[in-house]
């Protein structure tokens, strides 16, 4: 790791003030940033730690409306009983991220702000039609995720929370990369009052995306059987030593089937 200056923020306003120094980065759980710094792939001059800002933590469930503070850990999302009642797909997703030790530190805000193409949360945000709340504005998930590790966030903008209305049905299925255990393909499907949404992570060569083919099929019938014979194009899918675009295209359909089955269960 290169040398770095650490700052601990006490409030969102304090964090915004501290981020102005040098080539600074916000630090939430650090589960992606610190490994990147260790291997010298990331080299911020300064880190502004959001981990001690009380206002950023916690889960509120009011009826079907869910608000999750940005520094809420994967562990806390996975184990929130109220959330489990209204949106078990999301708690299930959180329980699949990394390993227990990673889930104790990693946060939802950090995950979506980083927008790793193999991260789980972006698919949920997109499929849930979530709103990403920052210190400056509220953004629809559709406008938030911009490509590989790219989001609509400005340099001094902090994700403070995500909020969504729990849909009638939701399910997530993930096929992990055998080595890294990140999503090699993960599909989050929802059926809510605005219809069906299916978002795919781990597979797209430009990051998380909604699959037209899956959504069209599931709009007709929200059943796994509706996906029999459906194929998604492999053209814009990633290829690497673990999975070719064609294999990922297959996984998109298979994981979508399993996600729907889970949503209906």
């Amino acid at each position: 790791m290169y040398s770095v200056n650490y700052h601990r923020a006490t409030s969102v306003a304090d964090a915004v003030k501290k981020i102005k120094s040098g080539d600074a980065k916000f630090l939430a759980g650090g589960m992606t940033l610190i490994p990147a710094m260790k291997t010298r792939l990331a080299a911020p001059s300064d880190l502004v730690d959001l981990g001690h800002i009380a206002e950023l933590k916690g889960i509120k469930v009011s009826g079907k409306t869910v608000t999750i503070g940005a520094t809420t850990t994967h562990f806390d999302v996975a184990n929130d009983e109220k959330l489990k009642k209204v949106c078990p797909a999301l708690t299930h997703l959180a329980s699949l991220i990394g390993d227990p030790a990673v889930r104790h530190r990693g946060t939802i805000g950090g995950s979506i702000a980083n927008n790793d193409p193999a991260a789980d949360y972006p698919s949920a945000m997109l499929a849930l039609g979530a709103t990403i709340v920052t210190n400056k504005r509220e953004l629809a998930a559709d406008k938030f995720f911009k490509g590989l590790f790219e989001t609509a966030l400005k340099d001094d903008e902090i994700v403070t929370a995500v909020t969504f209305t729990a849909p009638a049905k939701a399910g997530y299925a993930k096929f992990p990369n055998p080595a890294s255990r990140y999503a090699m393909t993960g599909v989050f499907v929802t059926k809510g009052k605005d219809g069906v949404r299916a978002a795919v992570t781990g597979a797209g060569d430009d990051g998380v995306f909604r699959s037209k083919e899956i959504e069209a099929a599931l709009t007709k019938k929200f059943e796994a059987s509706a996906l029999e014979g459906v194929s998604v194009p492999s053209k814009n899918l990633m290829g690497d030593i673990h999975a070719s675009p064609e294999y990922r295209a297959n996984l998109v359909v298979v994981m979508a089937k399993r996600a729907v089955a889970a949503a209906n269960a």
Binding site: G30, D49, P100, V102, R181
Partner: protein, 166 residues
């Protein structure tokens, strides 16, 4: 440089470190607690697992300065004096270790796992929960056995305590 203050294994400690110092290096180099190991660069092997504020975390993926103010338990602080912790005892009884390098992280992970599953564990859960700990010697067979045995011992102990209290 920053001043780091922690409670480690029940003892208040502090030291000035470069901000880039990882918690694991602070433990190993400043406090000479070398039981916590580093086995990879990508937060996957789990040889570095310690408890921070009561939860298992990877000390290679946390800055020492980030942890400042926290309470840390390492493998050296797990036993109660001369008495082995039930998880340590179970690893020995069940031959849950060979070269010993991954063992501290395994034991800290297992202890956390058992704490989170007070009603007991099954083999599939143990195997799933070990995702973040890699062992190259044992094939996990006896590690799984050891954790299941420790879980049984500990839930029995806590039940009998609860019964006595009642």
């Amino acid at each position: 440089m920053s001043e780091v203050t922690l409670v480690v294994n029940g003892r208040k400690v502090s030291g000035a470190v470069e901000d880039r110092t990882l918690l694991v290096h602070f433990l190993r180099e400043n406090l000479n607690l070398t039981g916590t190991h580093v086995g990879c660069d990508t937060s996957q092997c789990g040889a570095c697992v310690v408890h921070v504020d009561g939860k298992a975390v990877k000390s290679c993926t946390m800055l020492a300065v980030q942890a400042s103010g926290s309470t840390v338990t390492t493998i050296e602080g797990l036993a109660n004096g001369a008495d082995l912790h039930p998880v340590q005892a179970a690893f020995k009884e069940n031959h849950g270790l060979q070269c010993g390098f991954c063992t501290p992280g395994m034991i800290m992970t297992a202890t956390d796992m058992i704490r989170r599953h007070p009603d007991g564990l099954d083999e599939a859960t143990v195997r799933a929960e070990l995702e973040g700990n890699i062992c190259r010697c044992t094939g996990y067979h006896n590690i799984v056995k050891a954790i299941l045995a420790a879980s049984k011992t500990m839930s029995k102990a806590s039940k009998s305590k609860a019964n006595k209290a009642a």
